[in-house]
Amino acid sequence: MKPFFHLPWGNLLRVILLTLLAVAFLAPMAWMVSTSLKPLSETMTVPPQWIPSSIQWHNYPDAIQAMGYFWRYTGNSLLLCLLTVAGTLVSSTLAAYGFARLEWPGRNRLFSLCLATMMIPFPAIMVPIYGLFKNLGWIGTLQPLWVPTFFASAFHVFLLRQFFLSLPRDTAEAARIDGCNEWQILWYTVLPMAKPVLLVVAVFQFLATWNDFLGPLIYLTDQRTFTLALGLQSFQSQQGGTAWHHLMAASTLVVLPVIVLFFFTQKTFIQGIATTGSKN
């Protein structure tokens, strides 16, 4: 990296503009954390003050207490993340392998159908799906939120297929000549090379489950089965928008795992998002 004073003027202007924008993008999050550490009275000062007169760490345990089932919500969310990540990894990998590396009649037509399902908005089909789970007696349980991921997601099948198509085929051919069947080829030759894309799919699914709101809202009826996202919404509507220091502490706690996950997987993650928009 070049030192500042060697930069051409255009780039200096660029950095100034970016710094201003970065301040604007960071301000809401900084405000969230700042509010979460204030005494209630200081959330109501005009003009607002950024630094609390004394840092109120106890807002966090207080917010957890006020949410009631905070640890249950966290447990439910984590359990769902675990199950949905496992479900989508297994099922989408199998389907993607079938679409990418095997030749069979009708394959491309079925794959187009798979892509077409991405066009259907969930709200348009949620009534019959709700009816289906109601008949199975699953309403009020976590099952409607994880069982479907064991039946592959079109988006993840698409991502994995793109990656499988790009892998060299010679190792697989050699294994086939040695008498390996397709399951062994997938397990021993394809999957070891596919670790980055599997991580991307796992992270995407984790985020989708952690963030999901509409699903838990329609399927979950008992507070003790709520996920964190639904629990936070229910906490917010009980508070009626007064105890902002507690609400911001609770929001910070819900965002935190996502931020941690991002920093640990940053490179793979950013590349994963970039490939979704790639024209190849």
Partner: protein, 309 residues
């Protein structure tokens, strides 16, 4: 299919189906069946608690005369028409700014990207607080600026009470969405880095200006990415639900200014148990998304440049 399959074909078909079986079952049970069922239920009186009764196109005629439905549809279209172009322009500009050798580039990218990771419920709760009329940070930033204008021109401007004001509620929601442009920005940035250097180099030799290079190289080369981001944003905006739902505590905002198609569908399905009507709204939403995507792909086939195609 006219030809008969050989034994080898059949065996390959069998292996293929074994691998895609999870998807196939999911497709039949969780996409095709609900879609067809939704088509049928939209012509029924159905409450989940009792069997559906066929009533013909009645739900659709009722829908066409339902002013609240049209309000929801209007809000949804307006929200998408404002948010999608604004988000595309902003994310593209951010990507252009970042696409240079500058110090702390990774830091800037992370800063712009992070907000897009916010769970929607957190996003809604946070912006409810930021857009608070009296105590919110947004108005705290606006107040000094407006005060200066008032002093200079003798105006009487005061910052709006965003989500409590029917004229500003939708704008507040757009602002909330704009904060999440980091996701398309990352996709644009990747696209920018794929543009071959030599195109710019030969343009430099020809004495092309910065603007000409943007207009004649960057934009055409990036058109598939612009199209992709546009379609994704469009599909997302048309399904907007969680953020306005949380912000209005399950309501629809002042004078229904935060009522959207997905919200109205949810209300009919799970608050009035009027599920046939809800299915009709859902199919309208599907048709809207499908129609706009087809229009976009028609336009794109004229303007989108695929290299080597």
């Amino acid at each position: 299919m006219g030809r008969t399959m050989s034994a080898a074909d059949l065996r390959r078909l069998g292996t293929g189906f074994m691998f895609i079986a999870p998807w196939l079952v999911g497709f039949l049970a969780l996409s095709l069946y609900p879609f067809l069922s939704s088509l049928y239920l939209s012509t029924c009186d159905y409450s989940v608690l009792a069997p559906a009764v066929w009533i013909g196109p009645e739900n659709y005629t009722a829908l066409s005369r339902d002013p609240i439905f049209w309000k929801a549809a209007g809000n949804t279209v307006l929200f998408a028409m404002v948010s999608v172009p604004l988000g595309l322009v902003l994310s593209f500009c951010l990507a252009l700014l970042l696409n240079a050798e500058i110090p702390a580039r990774g830091f800037f990218r992370t800063v712009f990207f992070l907000p897009s990771l916010m769970p929607l419920v957190c996003l809604a709760v946070l912006w409810l607080w930021l857009l608070n009329g009296d105590l919110g940070l947004v108005n705290a930033c606006l107040r000094p600026g407006l005060q200066t204008l008032n002093d200079l021109f003798g105006w009487h401007l005061s910052p709006p009470n965003w989500l409590q004001d029917p004229r500003f509620a939708l704008a507040g929601l757009v602002l909330t969405g704009i904060w999440g442009v980091g996701h398309p920005m990352v996709i644009f940035l990747a696209g920018l880095q794929e543009v071959p250097r030599h195109l710019y180099e030969s343009a430099d030799i020809d004495g092309a200006s910065r603007w000409q290079k943007l207009r004649h190289i960057t934009l055409p080369m990036l058109s598939p990415v612009i199209y992709f981001n546009g379609i994704m944003a469009l599909i997302g905006c048309f399904q907007v639900f969680a953020v306005p739902y949380v912000m209005t505590e399950g309501g629809d905002g002042p004078e229904r200014s935060l009522l959207f198609l997905a919200t109205y569908l949810y209300q009919h399905a799970f608050e009035y148990w009027n599920m046939g009507y809800a299915c009709a709204i859902g199919l309208f939403l599907f048709a809207l998304i499908l129609g706009l995507t087809l229009v976009a792909s028609r336009i794109s086939s004229r303007h989108v440049h695929y290299e080597g195609a």
